[in-house]
């Protein structure tokens, strides 16, 4: 059973995570700002990482995360609990990222590269801040290989990237991804295979020494 540890009156109480989430949602739906803040704290990092890899720009990721929480706050009274809260939040984030990418694609067509470079800061659309607290596994991994994988993921089409990030990075199940994207589970699996295949090609080329 999934369980979570929460502090209550100075004692540690083990509660079922799902019912705790349901209570949290109920409180947030009744405009309890503290409850909504708890929801933000629970999901901020996960959503930020997902959005950042979807759009590639930290500035855009911050704007989009703000928008996700604002829409969630406004939409919570209509949240019926049929999907889990995380599924619902990832759905909002995915829709906003796809909208953002469409708008950016149109903007790139009309704005010159230099103007775009100025707007994006140093022009590094796929730059990520350094990891502050790497875990032992991350430290052991080849930094170059990680860069290769980051670039390979960034080069995927939005459809493939969404599924790959939700499954392999955010660790959602096939069923959850199907609900987030409103597509059949078979399509999730097929997109995941395609996405992994494309990333693997980059890694293979790197391991062979074809690319850096």
């Amino acid at each position: 059973m999934v369980s979570d540890t929460v502090s209550y009156d100075g004692r540690l109480v083990i509660v079922d995570a799902l019912s705790a989430e349901a209570r949290l949602i109920e409180r947030a739906q009744a405009h309890d700002e503290a409850a909504f803040e708890q929801i933000m704290n629970l999901y901020a990092d996960r959503l930020y990482n997902y959005i950042l890899r979807m759009v590639g720009s930290p500035t855009d990721a911050e704007d989009l995360l703000q928008e996700v929480f604002l829409r969630a706050y406004q939409g919570l009274p209509n949240f019926d609990g049929r999907a889990s809260l995380s599924t619902w939040l990832y759905r909002i984030a995915t829709n906003l990222c796809i909208d953002h990418q469409r708008k950016r694609a149109r903007r790139v067509q009309t704005v010159s590269y230099s103007a775009w470079e100025d707007e994006e800061g140093e022009g590094g659309a796929w730059e990520f801040p350094d990891l502050q607290t790497p875990n032992p596994m991350e430290a052991a991994l080849n930094h170059e290989l990680q860069q290769v994988v980051e670039h390979a993921v960034a080069s995927l089409s939005p459809k493939l990237k969404t599924v790959l990030l939700l499954y392999d990075v955010e660790e959602l199940s096939y069923e959850e991804i199907a609900r987030v994207l409103n597509i059949p589970i078979g399509t999730v699996k097929s997109r995941l295979n395609h996405a992994r295949g494309q990333v693997q090609k980059h890694v293979e080329a790197y391991l062979r020494g074809d690319s850096k």
Partner: protein, 150 residues
């Protein structure tokens, strides 16, 4: 050798989804196929790199900004909450009755329309002929077929 099948199994093996007999078959195949061995190495590297991508913390000031925006944002009321939910059922019922009435009572009889059309077109044709008077010498056959008379 059916390499395609073993390639498909590689990701299942990495996720621990492969059955014991399949895992043994894959291992045996990898020992004798250098191409699949290379594929296996790249699949392993990709899998571990994907699962070890850096996890970043959302910037702290971002949460302050969200809080500020939420305090100024009006909470959207539920779409069908409170009295709206009570009013929804009768409103839907009324809509169905109106739709049925519009469909059955107000729709003109299709057969009648077909019958009326030829006579209306005859009248129109006569009027146009009268205005245009395009034929200075109409033939006798014309007067017989149309019943037109001046």
């Amino acid at each position: 050798m059916n390499c395609t099948r073993y390639e498909r199994w590689m990701w299942d093996a990495l996720e621990g989804r492969l059955g014991e007999s399949q895992a043994q078959a894959l291992q045996a195949h990898l020992r004798q196929c250098p191409r699949c061995q290379r594929q296996w190495e790249s699949a392993q590297a990709t899998y571990h790199a994907l699962h070890a991508l850096p996890r970043l913390r959302a910037p702290e000031q971002l949460m302050h900004q969200v809080r500020a925006r939420i305090q100024h944002a009006p909470a959207r009321p539920p779409l069908f909450g409170g009295w709206k939910r009570v009013a929804l059922a009768p409103a839907l019922g009324l809509l169905i009755v109106l739709g049925y009435w519009a469909f059955t009572v107000r729709t003109p009889d299709a057969t009648q329309t077909i019958v009326q059309e030829p006579s209306e077109s005859w009248v129109e044709m006569h009027e146009q002929l009268e205005v245009a008077d395009w034929s200075p010498t109409p033939t006798a056959n014309y007067f017989i077929t149309t019943g037109y008379s001046r």
